[in-house]
């Protein structure tokens, strides 16, 4: 069902845990839907210096969280903000159709963390479109 890449990231997830000195924290999804992703970032000089995650969810949710943290680490905030669910799927060598939702969740979790950072910095975030990442109330269009 899952690619080797997904199984690798699920069984050996990268960047699991909390960041005590995080200055950007985002959480999406909810327990009712069966997945919650929480992203912690340490942003310095406009770059993602460190990133960690915690996820309640299926194998794909854990794998997408893991690879998303790898993909944004060291990137500028703007670059991280551009991470798409499509890029996450590609990096994992594909996801089963019913698990596309998990890649959306990863994109939204990264976005939520950056929105949190911008808010802390007093930067306007109205230009960033996001959703809660919940299965039942997401109306966003994702590829």
């Amino acid at each position: 069902m899952y690619s080797e890449k997904v199984m690798d990231h699920f069984s050996n997830p990268r960047n699991v845990g909390e960041l005590k000195d995080a200055n950007a924290v985002g959480e999406v999804g909810n327990a009712k839907c069966g997945d919650i992703m929480k992203i912690y970032m340490k942003i310095e000089d406009n770059r993602v210096k460190d990133v960690k995650f915690k996820t309640f969810g299926c194998g794909a949710a854990i794998a997408t969280s893991s690879i998303a943290t790898e993909m944004v680490k060291g990137k500028t905030v703007e670059e991280a903000l551009e991470l798409s669910n499509k890029a996450v799927i590609e990096a994992l060598d594909g996801l089963p159709p019913q698990k596309i939702h998990c890649s959306v969740l990863a994109e939204e979790a990264i976005k939520a963390a950056i929105i949190d950072y911008y808010k802390n910095q007093g930067i306007d975030t109205s230009h960033i479109e996001g959703c809660s990442g919940c299965c039942s109330d997401c109306h966003c269009e994702h590829e």
Binding site: A31, K32, G34, D35, K54
Partner: protein, 391 residues
């Protein structure tokens, strides 16, 4: 294969060598059509008669009351639709429960689309049907009550005898899906007041694709398939002889010495339940604490999701199942876990372990030992558990 610990016996079972041995001649030497007249065909016919006797004996029925089907899904569909269509002039109301297998639930929903009215009874926190609610639901149009013998997910055994009495008093046909109960609970269709009973071969170490429907003599039901004169004209089509023979052998083995078998498997189940409850925090046993199938344990592990649990168990060679949405193929967790009142997030973290004749106590220990590590690992990744640890 030798490193597999198979504890998903409610999903299916491994065929027993004795069953396969009995089947083989009918896949090779005795290929004759039982409806033909020559002697190799007669061997086929005799084999079917013998298997029918074995199935009948297992549930204390008459062989004439046993019809072979392709499995329990067909038996369930036939029981519901066959009774509904044949008794439409008497009424259009059917009573079943919210925790039935989809073979019953979806057949009932189909009948609703065709103008039948269906009542889906609630169950309590342990998954037991409320007899008072059942009595209140009966109307003069009620033609059928269908309540499963024992639930496939949480193992709860329903009050079948009591329901049988109620059905009999009100002259309503009573069907039970006994797929999980056969071989785990002694069954006597007369004592229990059953008119129809579904069973299948592959849950009792027999082949897949073969089952039976018990139809009490005098029950008004439409044939399932129109065709030749097979199965007393109730289900046309050349008989699947080898599989019928396999079912006969399997059910005979599963129901003889049943008390001894129940005792042996209960020991495994009880050990598993006890160790999980003692050694893993934040768990909930789903289903009835005592009135449950001897082979079934179903737990919810809070703060984690079931699919991850199954994937990690699989890496350790352990085969089990879950009622989480990710394994149900929909956004919602199992309808059974929701019916017993579990919130979604706790239902998502469920694990069903079902033991069988091939399991050992060492395997129980291995599963619990691995489970402890896996649950801890997933919880350490979970943002829900983070909050618990802080409290």
């Amino acid at each position: 294969m030798s490193n597999i610990v198979y504890v998903d016996n409610a999903a299916t079972t491994k065929i027993k060598p004795e069953v396969l041995d009995k089947m083989m001649p009918y896949l090779t030497e005795f290929y004759g059509n039982p409806s033909s007249i020559y002697s190799i065909a007669n061997e086929s016919k005799k084999a079917i008669d013998k298997a029918r006797e074995k199935v009948a004996k297992a549930i204390h029925a008459d062989p004439k009351e046993i019809v072979f089907t392709s499995g329990a899904t067909e038996s369930d569909n036939w029981a519901l639709k066959g009774i509904a269509y044949a008794n439409r002039n008497k009424g259009n109301h059917i009573i079943t429960t919210k925790i039935e297998h989809h073979a019953v639930l979806h057949a009932a929903q189909q009948l609703e689309k065709e103008g039948f009215e269906v009542t889906y009874l609630d169950v309590d926190e342990f998954g037991v049907v409320d007899l008072e609610e059942l009595k209140r639901s009966i109307k003069k149009e009620t033609i059928l009550i269908s309540v499963m013998f024992a639930n496939n997910e949480i193992g709860t055994i329903e009050p079948i005898k009591e329901i049988g009495q109620i059905a009999k008093e009100k002259h309503i046909f009573f069907h039970t899906d006994a797929v999980q109960a056969i071989g785990n609970v002694p069954i006597d269709v007369n004592e229990l007041g059953l008119d129809l009973l579904s069973l299948t071969g592959h849950k009792i170490y027999g082949p897949k694709g073969i089952g039976a429907l018990y139809i009490r003599k005098g029950t008004k039901i439409l044939p399932f398939m129109n065709g030749g004169a097979q199965e007393s004209k109730r289900r046309g089509g050349t008989e699947n002889i080898a599989y019928i023979v396999g079912l006969g052998q399997a059910i005979e083995m599963a129901t003889s010495n049943i008390d001894e078998k129940v005792k042996k498997i209960s020991i495994l189940r009880d050990k598993f339940i006890r160790r999980v409850q003692e050694e893993i925090p934040y768990v909930r046993l789903n289903g009835h604490p005592s009135n449950r199938l001897c082979n079934n344990a179903n737990f919810s592990f809070r703060y984690i999701e079931g699919e991850g649990l199954l994937l990690f168990l699989d890496m350790k060679g352990i085969c089990a199942s879950s009622g989480s949405a990710c394994t149900s193929g929909s956004l919602d967790p199992s309808h059974v876990l929701l019916a017993i009142g579990l919130p979604h997030e706790i239902a998502h973290g469920s694990l069903r372990v079902t033991f069988g004749d091939f399991n050992t106590e060492q395997e129980v220990d291995y599963v619990v030992d691995e489970l402890k590590v896996i649950v801890d690992r997933l919880r350490k990744m979970s943002p829900l558990y983070e909050e618990v640890e802080k409290e």
